[in-house]
């Protein structure tokens, strides 16, 4: 059951000219969140109508007090419009309505299955908590992480500290391999023994997700993708967030990604 919290901004750390990490005090949401779930945030005062709607953001980190209790969450935000601008400019002491946790989380694998995590840009967001959960179960994880340039690769030490193997790509070649992140994924899958189990987790731009899902299918690997649709409500009320999927009946159906997702089976989505 999601709750709505008037969350205090604890801290707001800019990571670059576009990215920031916003820490919010929200113990109850933090306590209930599972990796892959999201929150709906109203970046301005509730009574103000512009921006009007809340915006969906993955739970990035679970924040903990000195005694280990969950005190809040952070979100990794990329500035692309009016609400993310407000999040970028937010100051400690402000409050923001934060509704969550919402949506269906990732299904977490057990050893000996390996986790291959594929992240594009701000698509890194759901994977900080996922990597922690996988680590706790002793799953070996690899993060394929692509960004525009070296300066847009964040939290590498965080993942290293969780013993996550990093495979980096940048479009301009300023760090890791030059090009898109699906290329090294494909190579690794092609050289991997088909009997060694791998679960692929992906989040990022639509085209990257489609390419990842198709690559996974090519090698017969399961793939959980976290999709991003424009969401009006996050609770199943508006039917704005649909993804075309193959149903059990074999037919094509529009599925609400806020309820059935955001984590969906990559091989059931009808990619454009």
């Amino acid at each position: 059951m999601p709750i709505d919290v008037a969350a205090d901004v604890i801290a707001n750390q800019p990571l670059s000219a576009d990215y920031n990490v916003l820490a919010l005090a929200a113990p109850a949401i933090a306590a209930a969140s599972a990796p892959g779930q999201f929150v709906m945030i109203k970046a301005n005062a509730p009574a103000l109508n512009d921006p009007l709607l809340r915006r969906p953001f993955s739970v990035f980190e679970i924040l903990r007090g000195a005694d280990g209790t969950r005190t809040g969450i952070s979100i990794l935000s990329k500035r692309i419009g009016v609400s993310t601008q407000l999040l970028y400019d937010a100051r400690p002491g402000q409050r923001m309505a934060c509704l969550g946790p919402l949506g269906r989380p990732f299904t977490i694998v057990e050893p000996p299955t390996e986790a291959w995590i594929v992240a594009g840009g701000v698509g890194l967001a759901p994977f900080a908590t996922l990597a922690e959960h996988l680590r706790a179960r002793g799953v070996h994880s690899t993060l394929f992480y692509g960004a525009r340039r070296a300066a847009d690769l964040f939290y590498l030490d965080f993942f290293r500290a969780l013993d996550v193997e990093l495979v980096l790509t940048t479009e301009d070649g300023s760090a890791g391999e030059r090009g898109r992140v699906v290329a090294p994924l494909d190579r690794r899958l092609s050289s991997r023994s088909p009997t060694a189990p791998v679960m692929i987790y992906a989040c990022g731009p639509e085209r990257m997700l489609a390419a990842t899902a198709q690559t996974a299918m090519k090698y017969g690997r399961p793939c959980q993708v976290s999709v991003e649709r424009i969401m009006g409500c996050g609770l199943g009320g508006c039917y704005s967030c649909v993804v075309p999927m193959r149903g059990d009946d074999g037919g094509a159906h529009h599925v609400r990604s806020c309820l059935a997702g955001p984590v969906l089976a990559g091989d059931q989505i009808l990619w454009d």
Binding site: D4, N49, R54, G232, L235, G237, C238, Y239, V242, H254
Partner: protein, 312 residues
């Protein structure tokens, strides 16, 4: 303090209904809202058959509003009766079903099925969806069409029949009159305003259907005016909506002439809005010494505004 209001033969425990298309089938919200605490839940629009609706993107935010073209995705009336109605009934929700049709016969048939089902309290006739060609707007934009659909459905059901009017007309009050003449128990208004947003970078519409329906606080002053106009014209109750986001807004519609109100877009912004709306109404009634909320309906005071002034 009496919050109840009457819509035809139906008594609502309070004047607050969840608007069609903005509350799923109601069951989606059972976790966050006590459905029995609402005046009523209006279902998503239902045809006879299932529909998948338009491809995404289906919505885009606009200044103080949003544009949608969902395309009436829905599970069809039979699955609604089988799969959703039992839970709504179990949760003691007052259920209004939003009925769509591509033909007059479909409206009649869907209404007949609902009349036979257990747990439907009223029928809202959606003759005003701007987002699909065959979505009833051909009825809702013609006085004769409005009359015909209403009277045809009137003939097959004892449930209250509430046509929902489009604001995309010159004289909405004449449509309220046509509905009244056709035997409607009430009218609801407004549905969304036909509108569009273009992405200037790609020069393409921002939603897949090109045009969509505008809702939210942006349209509220127009909707209030339309309720006020209809109140001068018909005797049947009016269910008002369009951009209601707090108790003040709900009261504004009631003072303009609405017996009950629906809340759509604001429920997206705050799914916990319902208890706040009720609390705000109660606080207002206390402060203004109003024992029955029904007494507030249509009490707008226009007499003094201009006359009182010395003027020029």
């Amino acid at each position: 303090m009496d919050l109840s209001v009457r819509i035809g033969s139906l008594t609502l425990k309070n004047p607050l209904l969840a608007a069609s298309g903005c509350f799923g089938y109601g069951v989606e919200y059972a976790d966050v809202v006590d459905l029995s605490s609402l005046g009523g839940v209006v279902s998503k629009g239902l045809f006879l058959a299932e529909r998948e609706g338009h491809p995404a993107p289906r919505i885009v935010e606009t200044p103080a509003g949003m544009l949608n073209a969902i395309g009436l995705q829905g599970i069809g009336v039979r699955r609604f009766v089988d799969e959703k109605l039992p839970e709504l009934r179990a949760r003691k929700a007052t259920v209004v079903v939003n009925v769509c049709g591509t033909t007059l016969d479909e409206y009649v048939e869907v209404s007949r099925i609902l009349s036979d089902a257990d747990g439907v309290d009223a029928i809202e006739l959606n003759i005003s969806c701007p987002n699909i060609k065959e979505g009833g707007i051909q009825f809702g934009c013609s006085l004769a069409g409005t009359f015909d659909v209403v009277s045809a459905v009137r003939n097959v059901t004892r449930l209250p029949v509430i046509p929902k009017l489009t604001p995309n007309v010159t004289d909405v009050a004449s449509f309220a009159r046509a509905a009244e003449d056709g035997g409607a128990d009430a009218v609801s208004l407004v549905n969304t305003f036909l509108a569009m947003v273009i992405d200037v970078e790609t020069r393409r519409p921002k939603i897949s259907n090109i045009v969509g329906g505008l809702s939210g606080p942006a349209i509220r002053p127009i909707a209030v005016r339309m309720v006020y106009e209809c109140r001068q014209t018909v005797k049947i109750p009016i269910i008002g909506m369009g951009g209601i986001a707090d108790a003040r807004d709900a009261l504004e519609f009631m003072i303009a002439g609405a017996t009950a109100v629906q809340v759509g877009t604001a429920n997206f912004v705050d799914p916990f809005i319902w208890s706040k709306l009720l609390a705000g109404m109660r606080e207002y009634m206390e402060r203004h010494n109003i024992a029955r909320i029904a007494d507030l309906v249509g009490t707008i005071d226009t007499g003094h505004t201009v006359a009182e002034r010395s003027g020029v």
